[in-house]
């Protein structure tokens, strides 16, 4: 068997694939964070909570209303996104113009409330969400067997990430959004409803987190803690990519998933800190992040 650095090639390809699956989640989540930070300047600590809520929305929808996976993929992000709009209109809006620390504290508090409430109602052990019938097979990639569902996660995430990037960077709507962040009063003078735009941005970023939650629900147990650990890694991903850089969030999400995957083979004990080590290095060598502008 051919090897690279003493690791068999099939193992390398296998870890590369699995890394891309995990990276897909990182990319989707960091994308939402980057959109919210880039366009609103809010450090959204509640992102993990919205991810968890997305998964719970799918689970409860299935259990109580018989909503299937494909419909949940659409409805759960919509419902959670609307909740995000409410949060922005009722709470966040009052903190604009203040130090970003206030937004961070508010969203951190929200995250604790959501997590605590879910824990109170559903307990800690979590529940299983079944893999949809049409995606329950296994793909033979010759170097490994990849569950069809994981392949779907990569595809869905890449498509959603790049469409989001395209909308924000390459369309008139995106141009308007960016203009709102550059000079809101001027844009408002042109007759654009800026508060609505900002609320929709937050709702959209939150909906991306919920979408990641629905995508994750058949892979992991749905429980109140699922977003807590993840959101910290995702913040590191955003910092590495460059705060607010959308392309940076997507690319560094996928790349860090792969790096983490290889760490799991070479030195598994370090797999949960490797992202933070890279973050520290990036902050020292290139404080604005890999894709950020100084």
């Amino acid at each position: 068997m051919s090897t690279v650095l003493g690791i068999p090639v099939p193992v390398i390809l296998g870890q590369l694939t699995l890394g891309l699956v995990n990276g897909s989640f990182y990319a989707l989540l960091s994308l939402g964070l980057a959109v919210i930070f880039g366009l609103m300047g809010v450090v959204n600590f509640a992102h993990g909570a919205f991810y968890t809520l997305g998964a719970f929305a799918a689970l409860l929808g299935l259990q109580y209303l018989g909503i299937n996976y494909w419909v949940a993929l659409l409805l759960a992000p919509l419902a959670v996104g609307l909740l995000g709009v409410l949060v922005e209109r009722l709470l966040l809006r009052h903190l604009y113009g203040l130090d970003p620390l206030y937004g961070l504290l508010l969203t951190f508090g929200l995250a604790l409330i959501v997590q605590g409430s879910l824990h109170q109602v559903f307990g800690a052990s979590g529940q299983s969400y079944p893999v949809p019938e049409s995606l329950s097979g296994v793909l033979n990639l010759h170097f490994m067997y990849l569950p069809l569902y994981r392949a779907w996660v990569i595809l869905a995430s890449v498509v959603v990430c790049f469409s989001t990037w395209f909308v924000i960077e390459r369309t008139p709507l995106g141009a308007t959004l960016r203009a709102a962040t550059e000079n809101a009063p001027l844009l408002q003078a042109f007759g654009v409803n800026v508060p609505l735009l900002v609320a929709a941005t937050y709702g959209g970023g939150v909906a991306l987190a919920a979408l990641a939650g629905v995508l994750a629900s058949p892979v992991v147990l749905v429980n109140s803690h699922m977003g807590t650990e993840l959101v910290i890694v995702v913040f590191a991903v955003v910092v590495i990519g460059g705060m607010g850089s959308i392309l940076g969030a997507i690319v560094s999400g996928l790349v860090l998933g792969v790096v983490e995957g290889f760490t799991k083979v070479i030195y598994p004990e370090a797999s949960n800190i490797v992202v933070f080590v890279i973050m520290a290095l990036v902050l020292v060598l290139r404080p604005a992040g890999l894709f950020g502008r100084e």
């Binding site: 193992v11 699995l18 299983s128 296994v138 803690h225 598994p268």
Partner: protein, 400 residues
């Protein structure tokens, strides 16, 4: 001005967070319960465990030696320093008479040191590490429900004897996981099996597929899961999804009934595991389970049954000894036989291990399961001596 207002606000917050301070009068018997109340192990014992302690006290009559019995609970958040400092605070300020230790071996090892320093009896319920009655033993510790030795003797022996000789472990990277893996490795070797390898996974990993593929690449017959709670459930779920369970037999070195319930029988069927107690063993266990279910809307775990039994065992010892003095109560505890719905003929050995029967179980298939929570069938009942093994001599209280 601004900074001084912040200082006041933080001061107030700290004061509020510290909670009401209740120095209990000397005329009450104080039982403390320090456990993971909000984290990954919160369903194993947690808040429901605290309810069970109160249930046991009510069943005992609410008083002992004419003194009222009071319960205090705290969340250790899986942090050894929090567990140890809470224990010390209660012992110093609240006249604590007994501490019941919940999940997490790391936290319980830290609390055992406080028990020795403060001479307060300390009954470990939810932690698994057998070191608590070996190198970390104290004269005031009791290990009540199960330990890593008993788990390995149950599950690993059953698996190896059924012809599954080669093992690869997916191990939680902390005290409990490594103790469990070591115990299982020893059993596998003793019975003529072979340990092929292991991968140590950080606690609370989000994705296990990478580690599982390494296990599969090892070519071993058995996938030894030396982890617990959400880690265990997520690793077994991924093993199913990646088709690893088609080539390897999973062995649950520690699984609670709540884990099996989360996973569902379709995923968990056929799994071999070891437990101290199961709700559907006999009329007495079913009677307890019925009371528990009425309050918590789920079946009790072995830890929740164990904490009920431990509370009553302690109160009986206090009553017989006629005192709450730590040394005298410990002497009494080590004399008594334990006969209740948790165990028959259980006893506490010199090193603190409570020796009682353990059950090797197999998870039923969805077809075999006839009613809700009908999850296990008994493969083998082990005597306490067989399960917990002879004294090792590592604890100075119990020389070999």
């Amino acid at each position: 001005m601004r900074s001084s207002r912040w200082t006041i606000a933080f001061g107030a917050a700290t004061f509020l967070a510290a909670g009401p301070h209740s120095a209990h009068a000397a005329d009450s018997v104080v039982i403390g319960d320090i456990d993971d109340m909000s984290g990954v192990y919160a369903d194993v014992e947690g808040a429901a465990g605290a309810d069970v302690i109160n249930m046991a006290i009510a069943d005992f009559g609410g008083t002992v030696l004419g003194r009222k019995i009071v319960v205090m609970t705290a969340d250790h958040q899986n942090k050894p320093d929090i567990g140890a400092s809470k224990f010390r605070e209660w012992a110093d300020q609240d006249g604590l008479n007994l501490l019941l230790g919940g999940s997490n071996t790391g936290v319980n090892i830290a609390m055992a040191k406080v028990a020795a320093a403060k001479k307060v009896p300390f009954i470990v319920i939810g932690a698994g590490g057998a070191s608590l009655t070996n190198e970390d033993c104290t004269a005031y510790s009791v290990h009540y429900v199960y330990d890593t030795t008993a788990l390995a003797n149950g599950t690993a022996t059953a698996m190896v004897n059924a012809g599954n000789k080669t093992w690869f472990y997916v191990t939680a990277d902390y005290a409990f996981g490594t103790q469990l893996q070591n115990a299982a490795s020893k059993v596998v070797e003793t019975h003529g099996g072979k340990n092929v390898g292991a991968v140590r996974v950080p606690l609370g990993a989000a994705d296990f597929s990478s580690f599982l593929l390494q296990a599969q690449a090892s070519g071993a017959q058995v996938l030894g899961l030396a982890n617990a709670g959400t880690d265990f459930s997520n690793s077994l779920k991924a093993a199913n999804e990646f088709g690893i369970t088609r080539t390897m037999k999973p062995a649950a070195l520690l699984a609670f009934i709540t884990d099996i319930h989360s996973l569902g029988l379709k995923t968990a069927q056929g799994l071999v595991l070891t437990t101290a107690w199961y709700w559907d063993l006999n009329d007495e266990t079913r009677a307890f389970a019925k009371r528990f279910f009425a309050k918590e809307n789920r079946q009790p775990t072995m830890d929740q049954a164990g904490v009920y039994s431990a509370t009553l065992t302690y109160l009986r010892a206090v009553k017989t000894a006629g005192t709450t003095d730590g040394d005298k109560v410990m002497a009494q505890l080590k004399k008594d036989k334990i006969n209740d719905m948790f165990t028959r003929g259980g006893y506490i050995r010199a090193d603190g291990a409570m020796i009682h029967d353990m059950y090797v179980m197999q998870v039923k298939t969805p077809q075999e399961s006839k009613y809700p929570w009908d999850y296990y069938k008994v493969i083998r009942k082990m005597s306490g001596e067989e399960a917990f093994g002879p004294v090792t001599g590592l604890c100075p209280l119990a020389p070999k």
